[in-house]
């Protein structure tokens, strides 16, 4: 579904290519596609409408800068507005601080608390955790088990019913530590007594940061909830959790705009190390379901110069291991293959999924293996017999299976490229790329 959206966005962008003046109809189509993509990603309806109006207005009113074509101009506006929408990533200082965690039930506060503790610990800081969740059964066991695994002190009392008392007692016991993270019970904005409780905890703990934990799947409700939390304790950072699912995290944007803060971290897995700093570009490409928008803006063609890959030879089906080697080399500059392919104007062409399932480490292995091949083998991979496979494997310090895998991968690639040619009929790939990049 989203792939389709991404490509329709691209189609809309393509219509702008080669125009000398900004075409109102094309911009409107682009904005409509953008709206659909963002709404599907749970971005707040009002934010989406504001954004699309701004894009429409700026595209049509702003004068075209010299040396920039229409498509680049509009693309840049879209990108700038999107970055505006999500603000800069919130700041994370590596010093003494007290962090108060807040959020709805089941948004992942406790798991995130442990991940954060791990994050700061790895940065060389002494970390302690206070468990102020006195309500949910098993909450203390959960956080103390997680903390024990990474050797971090955890203060709490499973029998104690008063969260404030725990915080009051816990803070002195953590006096020698640099980072103190206070995990709290889940609550939502309509529970007044619980909101009062977190206000009190905030006052007592004199927290330096108050971070709101938002489930990536949270929908339109996000802005309302964030607003109330912000009113209560002045949220200064947002953490998006469960980004390893299929949810797009658009709800978190509403939270950012309500709290005028930024996204600090993204949780993307169940183990304690699955916490990343926020990266706006990756997030935008996920929201829109299309390749890296900034790479597009910054003229991706700089890295794919025609000397790197002989595109036309590839399209004629003369794709050798040597070409693949070059391609793998340029991959280091370009990012994953899927993104490259998604930046190419191939329309709705189907590329076999297996082609993409190659990680960067694997790519490096492949390059090493290819270094052990002779020139003749690189030019004509059909030469590679099983005894040659043995030799190459020995030379590269790899197993024969890995060499076979590489050859299989090469064949898939070759087939995929043939498919590109067959599906598109007669077209000049290089010209396409040029036109695409403006």
């Amino acid at each position: 579904m989203l792939d389709k959206l991404g490509s329709s966005l691209k189609d809309a962008l393509k219509k702008l290519a080669g125009k000398t003046v900004v075409d109102r109809a094309a911009v409107e189509e682009l904005v409509r596609d953008l709206q659909r993509a963002l709404l599907q990603s749970d971005v707040n309806v009002k934010l989406v409408m504001g954004l699309s109006n701004a894009i429409k207005r700026r595209s049509l009113e702003e004068e075209l800068p010299k040396g920039v074509n229409v498509r680049e101009h509009v693309l840049r506006i879209v990108y700038q507005e999107l970055v505006n929408l999500m603000g800069d990533g919130g700041e994370v200082t590596l010093g003494s601080q007290t962090i108060l965690m807040a959020g709805l039930q089941g948004s992942g506060k406790t798991t995130t608390t442990a991940k954060l503790a791990r994050y700061f610990q790895r940065k060389g800081l002494r970390v302690g955790v206070i468990c102020a969740d006195t309500f949910r059964p098993g909450a203390y066991e959960q956080i103390s088990t997680l903390c024990a695994k990474i050797n971090i002190p955890c203060f709490g009392g499973p029998e104690e019913k008063d969260a404030l008392k725990i915080v009051r007692d816990g803070l002195p016991s953590m006096s020698g530590l640099e980072v103190i993270i206070i995990d709290t019970q889940g609550r939502h904005a309509l529970e007044n007594d619980l909101i009062q409780e977190i206000i009190d905890i905030n006052t007592v703990s004199k927290a330096t940061h108050r971070w709101l934990v938002i489930d990536a799947a949270l929908g339109q409700q996000a802005s309302e909830q964030a607003r109330r939390f912000h009113e209560a304790i002045a949220i200064d950072g947002v953490i998006i959790t469960k980004m390893d699912g299929t949810a797009k995290g658009g709800g978190a944007l509403s939270a950012v705009s309500e709290t005028k803060s930024g996204i600090v971290f993204i949780g993307s897995g169940e183990t304690i190390d699955d916490l990343e700093r926020f990266d706006p570009d990756g997030f935008i490409s996920r929201l829109l379901g299309m390749g890296d928008l900034r790479a597009l803006v910054e003229r991706a063609e700089e890295t794919i110069s025609s000397s790197d890959i002989d595109v036309n030879a590839m399209m004629r089906g003369k794709f050798t291991l040597r070409d693949m080697y070059k391609q793998l080399e340029s991959l280091n500059k370009m990012g994953p293959l899927k993104q490259i392919m998604s930046m190419l104007p191939l329309g709705n062409m189907k590329v076999p999924e297996g082609v993409y399932d190659v990680t960067s480490t694997k790519m490096n292995r492949y390059r090493i293996i290819m270094d052990s091949m002779t020139g003749a083998e690189l030019d004509d991979p059909t030469l590679i017999s099983s005894s040659r496979i043995q030799r190459v494997a020995h030379g590269a310090g790899a197993s024969p299976e890995e060499v076979r895998e590489l050859i299989k991968y090469y064949k898939t690639m070759k087939r995929a490229l043939k498919g590109v040619r067959g599906g598109g009929g007669k077209f000049d790939m290089q010209r396409m790329m040029k036109r695409f990049s403006g």
Binding site: M1, R36, L39, Q40, S41, D42, V45, L104, Q105, G106, S107, G108, F135, R136, P137, G138, A139, Y140, E141, Q142, I143, T145, L146, H188, A189, L190, D215, A216, A217, L218, G219, Q220, Q221, A222, Q225, T241, K242, D244, G245, T246, A247, K248, G250, G251, E270
Partner: protein
């Protein structure tokens, strides 16, 4: 639940009425009638409409009359977390239903629009699910498996439903099938003790299938009516975790698979409900955290996507905070003040 939706729907309804009323005034003027009759080539649409107006004393609703109000309605649904594809479908159906529809001049516009909206929503929300009736009509022990992604409230829901069933005179045993998350076994254990229900548990990291198999064995041996099987939260895009769930299903052979999701979820609700339905199936849905969210669009989205009835709504932190979901009442509530 549904409060915002309700108030916004009212606005749209008014708009819809206005649109159609204006159309009525336009067509009510006698002037274009002879003109239209003289030139049949001027478009069958006008001729038809005029004919209908004169002969049948009815009005035909055209697409232009309602398009603005419908796009307004679309926004309303989106604002209320009804997922994008679901919204589009509802709107398309509504349009199909309304455009070209004839209505008598005297007939209030309300009724036409209202019936269409009501019909669209009641088709989506379906019938509801009577758990007690289900248990009574099936062989005991009735095995109920709870599934869903992380943090939607499966464990709490198991406790609440356990309490609900116990109050209704059934004997219940809970299987602590979440052996993954730290503290999960302690959590369900405390719940079970508080509500006085027997719980079967192994230690953390054990095979959940084994725990739940034991639970079923225990229920058979002790003539217990209902087995409630809790499981660890898992994402639908994790193949091995979904396979584990599939194994659990094979081993404990549940009569009923209950999919648990939260009322505050947005568009993703549709994607994951669909995946769960495809891999392990789902017979009924429980929507938690309905107290957080007066919108309730997720209910419409999920019900529409997997076509399975909504069984319960979780509405708070207490064991009593669970209420059977009745689509008829909800629809009555949404439209009741006008109909």
């Amino acid at each position: 639940m549904f409060e915002t939706l309700k108030s916004r729907l009212k606005e749209v309804r008014n708009k819809l009425d206005n649109g159609i009323n204006e159309a009525e005034i336009r067509e009510g003027q006698p002037a274009p009638v002879p003109a239209a009759e003289k030139s049949p080539a001027g478009g069958t649409g006008i001729v038809d409409r005029v004919k209908v107006l004169i002969v049948d004393r009815e009005l035909v609703i055209s697409e232009a009359d309602i398009s603005e109000a419908l796009s307004e309605l679309e926004l309303v649904l989106l604002e209320n977390d009804v997922a994008f594809p679901v919204t589009e479908e509802i709107i398309a159906n509504l349009k199909k239903e309304l455009v070209g529809k004839r209505r008598k001049i005297g007939e209030p516009v309300d009724t036409v629009v209202l019936t269409a909206l009501k019909k669209a929503l009641s088709v989506v929300l379906g019938e509801g699910f009577d758990l007690i009736n289900y248990i009574n009509t099936h062989e005991h022990p009735v095995r109920i498996l709870f599934t869903g992604v992380n943090g939607t409230g499966k464990t709490t829901t198991v406790a609440k439903i356990g309490y609900f069933l116990k109050k209704n005179g059934f004997s219940v045993v809970i299987g602590a099938g979440d052996t993954f998350r730290a503290g999960a076994i302690e959590q369900i254990d405390v719940h079970a003790k508080r509500i006085g229900i027997k719980i079967i548990q192994h230690q953390q990291g054990a095979d959940p299938s084994a725990v739940l198999f034991d639970t079923v064995q225990y229920a058979v041996a002790h003539n217990i009516d209902v087995v409630l099987a809790d499981t660890a939260g898992r994402f639908h895009n994790r193949a091995n975790l979904m396979n584990q769930l599939e194994k659990i299903r094979r081993v404990m052979k549940p009569d009923l698979i209950v999919y648990v999701d939260e009322a505050v979820a947005g568009n993703d609700a549709v994607i994951r409900a669909d995946e769960f339905e495809k891999t392990v199936g789902a017979d009924a849905v429980v929507l938690t955290k309905a107290d957080m969210d007066p919108r309730g669009g997720a209910a419409i989205s999920i019900a529409h996507t997997i076509g399975k009835p909504l069984m319960f709504l979780g509405t708070g932190q207490g064991y009593d905070d669970i209420s059977p979901f009745s689509p008829a009442t909800v629809i009555e509530e949404l439209f009741g003040d006008v109909a």
